[in-house]
Symmetry: C2
Subunit: 300 residues, 2 copies
């Protein structure tokens, strides 16, 4: 196993902030200035067989689609439009039709979301690797600098909300069948409702802690308010991960307008807590530390 955290914390200072780079590492996407108030959103994500998916349970086409959707969820989290994708694919021991199914899974999903797959790279891994697939996708999006949403925008007093429902993602198949919340993220960004936003990939508590840290607030969560996915427990909604829902904050005074204006066809929004002065993630009823015992900083 790689000591991913140690490597990441050593390398992160080498990544660039400042200058052309409006948003550096630590958000769902990096954002760079390309003129006229428009930012380019850039992110990359990998999908590795037997690490991120079990090939006995997930078809190659579903895996390809999932790789794209994980990246789309990152664009959604910034309030942006997804535009272009580059795909790198390396494998050993895979028949050509399975490789093609994976790539076509990406291309089919890309069409659905009006994303253009414009290039990439295909390579063989050494036979000593056994049966293996390593795929990486880079996503390119755009967002107005006046609309972009970051993890750092939450203020004490803001309401904490999620789209859709949480928990039981793996057993329910949601981790494969989910719809990236592009329209929801865009609505919240374009109409300036949200103050901070990210997607929930590693579980509500871990991801809320990251948003709280970036915004220098604590989050107090009402466990009774959590929207549970079919078969999910409250504990699962807090920690299961792979929800690919949006977690966002909204100033209290804007919430009535959001309720009124939010389109019916979008995934429903639920208020699950609030931001306060402090640090950490807490149960609103008994002020239990929800982070206790959680492995913080999981690198997905």
């Amino acid at each position: 196993m790689l000591d991913e955290l140690k490597i990441l914390y050593s390398f992160l200072p080498r990544l660039t902030c400042g200058g052309d780079v409006a948003v550096g590492p630590g958000d769902d996407c990096a954002a760079v200035r390309i003129g006229d108030g428009v930012l380019l959103l850039l992110a990359a994500d990998q999908l590795i067989e037997a690490v991120h998916y079990d090939p006995a349970l997930v078809s190659s086409a579903e895996a390809g689609a999932k790789l794209l959707k994980r990246n789309l969820s990152d664009i959604a989290a910034m309030g942006g439009f997804a535009r272009f994708a580059l795909v790198s694919y390396a494998a050993n021991g895979k028949p050509s039709d399975e490789v093609l199914n994976f790539l076509n899974g990406i291309a089919d999903e890309a069409e659905r979301w009006h994303v253009q797959v414009i290039g990439g790279d295909l390579a063989a891994m050494p036979v000593t690797c056994g049966v293996a697939t390593v795929a990486s996708l880079s996503i390119v999006g755009t967002v107005e600098e006046s609309c972009i949403l970051r993890r750092s925008g939450a203020s004490s007093g803001d309401l904490l909300c999620v789209t859709g429902s949480l928990g039981n993602s793996y057993a329910s198949g949601h981790h494969v069948s989910f719809l990236p919340r592009l329209a929801e993220g865009r609505f919240l960004a374009e109409h300036h409702y949200a103050s901070a936003m990210m997607d929930i990939s590693d579980g509500l508590v871990l991801d809320a802690e990251r948003m709280g840290r970036a915004s220098q607030v604590e989050f107090v969560i009402d466990l009774d308010a959590l929207p549970l996915r079919d078969g999910a427990t409250v504990e699962g909604a807090l920690t299961d991960g792979e929800d690919y829902e949006l977690l966002f904050t909204i100033p209290k005074e804007k919430y009535a307008a959001l309720l009124k204006e939010y389109p019916d066809q979008l995934a429903p929004v639920t208020v699950i807590g609030r931001a306060e002065k402090g640090a950490g993630v807490w149960d609103s009823e008994c002020r239990r530390d929800l982070l206790k015992g959680k492995k913080i900083g999981y690198v997905h």
Copy 2:
């Protein structure tokens, strides 16, 4: 082994051309319109241990630098500016410091070329893979739509040129130590000297055949004119590959001006042949078919 060609030819039609996409698959980079006559250049390339480099001969830092430079060579080939990079890295059985050396190799090289590494993804491969490294880098550049150089711009009568020298890349260490020809590519594009351009990664003959096919011309090469790298044979200059030099065509009437204006500090340019009506790549002296026996369409 993957049947890369079969897969590629099946999947290529799914890649996008048209609309926002000014240059689709088949060039060194894709190019997309982002407004104001500026194109975004996008490309991805992989580096796989024991496939693209031998870890006994190439250090992790050198491998990381090479991954970036291969991508920079693709930007150079379009006449563009290299701007941003995203890095995906997956490995098993690698100590943390070796992983960091690889990533720092990318970051050091990026600084040298004023490229900003703005994000990426780090993941573990399954232990069943044995010792393995799969790295992918996506490069983002820019170029004016009025300056971009493609493979398809050569006309019958144009001179065929290369920068630097060719052959013996592997034994000489050039495949690791090479300098991407960004300044050279930019000069040729900005001053509208070149009519078509690409980088030589798979060997002069194979790459010239691709340019000829894209431009619907044949190339006639003067073997005596080939600039040989130290230790290279003529055969090696034609076929060794990993040269990372620029191959370009220039209208005959512009060549005198190029000779006069070309800056001394850039890699020297040599005329190695000419474009004519036809197809293929030929020896100018005896009209020997230089493609004969060559494996065409190698996917690097």
